[in-house]
């Protein structure tokens, strides 16, 4: 066991971890953050995507002990802590019917958080590339792209402008 001190969804966390754990293991099994999905577990499907210090990574191929001192964000950290209201990005996924079975959704939302957070506007093609580290076997990606586009537009007031 090693002591891992980090920030998870804005709160300081201190817990014992097994050095053999992936960050996905730790978040799911020790902290109960089950939005972090284990899909392929080899960094191909993107279902386990979380932000580490603001950067989207596959938490299944990230050792938990590497998270020492870092700040981790999962979908559980997106809701308003007081009212429980969904974030604008989550709402965009609901509005655009971008969720079918839902397995890939939390991972894609976390990539969307990074995309929206960059403050930039993107073309459809650029957005396609930015979410290309996620596999979705239900939607065919169209509504997901609509949702990410909507989230970017909502956040930065690009609505109605030519991209």
């Amino acid at each position: 066991m090693e002591i891992l001190k980090c920030t998870v969804n804005g709160r300081p966390a201190e817990l014992g971890v097994d050095p053999r754990e992936s960050l996905a293991d730790t978040l799911r099994e020790r902290l109960g953050l089950t939005s972090v999905k284990k899909g392929c577990e080899v960094g191909e499907c993107g279902a386990c995507t979380v932000l580490v210090d603001g950067v989207a990574i596959d938490s299944c191929i990230y050792l938990a002990v590497w998270a020492q001192g870092k700040s981790i964000l999962t979908v559980e950290g997106l809701r308003d802590p007081d009212t429980g209201e969904l974030s604008d990005i989550q709402k965009a996924f609901v509005e655009e019917a971008a969720v079918q079975c839902g397995f890939c959704t939390p991972g894609i939302i976390m990539s969307a958080v990074e995309i929206v957070g960059s403050g930039k506007q993107y073309t459809r093609e650029e957005l396609r590339k930015l979410i290309s580290g996620h596999l979705c076997r239900c939607t065919g990606y169209e509504n997901i792209l609509n949702a990410v586009e909507r989230a970017v537009n909502t956040a930065h007031g690009f609505v109605g402008k030519e991209s």
Binding site: D25, I57, L63
Partner: protein
């Protein structure tokens, strides 16, 4: 849970070298995008890891040396390489090549050093680094030595790096990139999250009037067991008008490559890719260099 025995998180490069010296079986892990997958596949079962993941201060980042050489820390991620202003200004083709590996999350984790140290032929940044004639600075218990990348690859997955040595810097000398333009093409079955069926990196130095080839580099991934350059083709293109070189480069490269049949693609298909993509990469490199084709 990974099937590993222990993870030692090195506190410095020297500390990592000491840990490797003390444990002849230890495996170095950096970004983890190769090693952890191998462990998941059951290879390296029960291994002991020496992690250099945290040594970003010593080993990550791209800088321009006073003499104009580009110095890349091996822990620089693919994404860090693509986004580096130094890379964009000096060797943009390397940033473009790095941007073709895996997908965004993988590019935020996988490293340029790992891409060289794993010795894999399909490594997306390897052919471009080979084409630029990168100098690989390696540190071990006896000190620092420099290995030209042309002497780096020794066989499938085998590179000129002893067990107790670490790659600590990738240097692209100014004389190797100044006046050159380049283009990398990755051919794969998908646009993302795929391994190259074939990768080609072509660098060209145009004559003053931009109509002829003053010098050329042509390097491949997956055209042989390790990343390789086509030295004869490079020589043969020197002095040709760009139009003529565009016609000759593909057929000439065919004589030097040794792709194999694999479950990803046949040798015949790879040969076709070598011929066609050499031309396309050359044409694009010429365009980027200000030539017309």
């Amino acid at each position: 849970m990974y099937d590993i025995t222990s993870v030692y998180q090195a506190k410095s490069v020297d500390d990592a070298i000491a840990a490797l010296t003390a444990d002849p079986q230890a495996v170095v892990i950096a970004g983890g995008t190769d090693v952890l997958i191998k462990i998941r596949e059951g290879k390296l079962a029960g291994c002991r890891l020496v992690s250099i993941h945290g040594l970003t201060q010593e080993l990550a980042g791209v800088t321009l040396a006073e003499n104009g050489d580009v110095e890349i820390g091996p822990l620089t991620t693919f994404r860090g390489c693509t986004e580096s202003p130094v890379i964009q200004k000096t060797v943009p083709v390397l940033g473009e090549a790095a941007d073709t590996a895996g997908g965004p999350q993988l590019r935020a984790a996988g490293t340029l050093g790992g891409n060289l140290c794993n010795g894999i032929t399909s490594a997306d940044t390897a052919s471009t680094q080979l084409a630029f004639g990168a100098i690989l600075r390696v540190r071990g218990p006896q000190g620092v030595r420099e290995v030209p990348i042309s002497e780096w690859y020794q066989g499938v997955g085998k590179v000129a790096l002893a067990h107790d040595e670490l790659l600590v810097k990738i240097v692209i000398p100014q004389s190797h990139y100044r006046g050159w333009s380049g283009h990398y093409i990755k051919y794969a079955m998908r646009n993302a999250m795929d391994i190259a069926t074939l990768g080609v990196s072509c660098l060209v130095k145009l004559t003053a009037d931009k109509r002829g080839v003053e010098d050329l580099r042509l390097a491949f991934g997956v055209a042989g067991p390790v990343p390789m350059r086509c030295l004869e083709t490079e020589q043969a293109m020197v002095g040709l008008p760009v139009e003529e070189a565009a016609e000759k480069i593909g057929p000439s490269a065919l004589g030097e490559v040794q792709p194999r049949d694999s479950w990803r693609a046949s040798r015949a298909f790879r040969l076709q890719l070598v011929e066609e993509l050499s031309k396309r990469a050359f044409v694009e490199a010429v365009r980027k260099g200000g030539g017309a084709l």
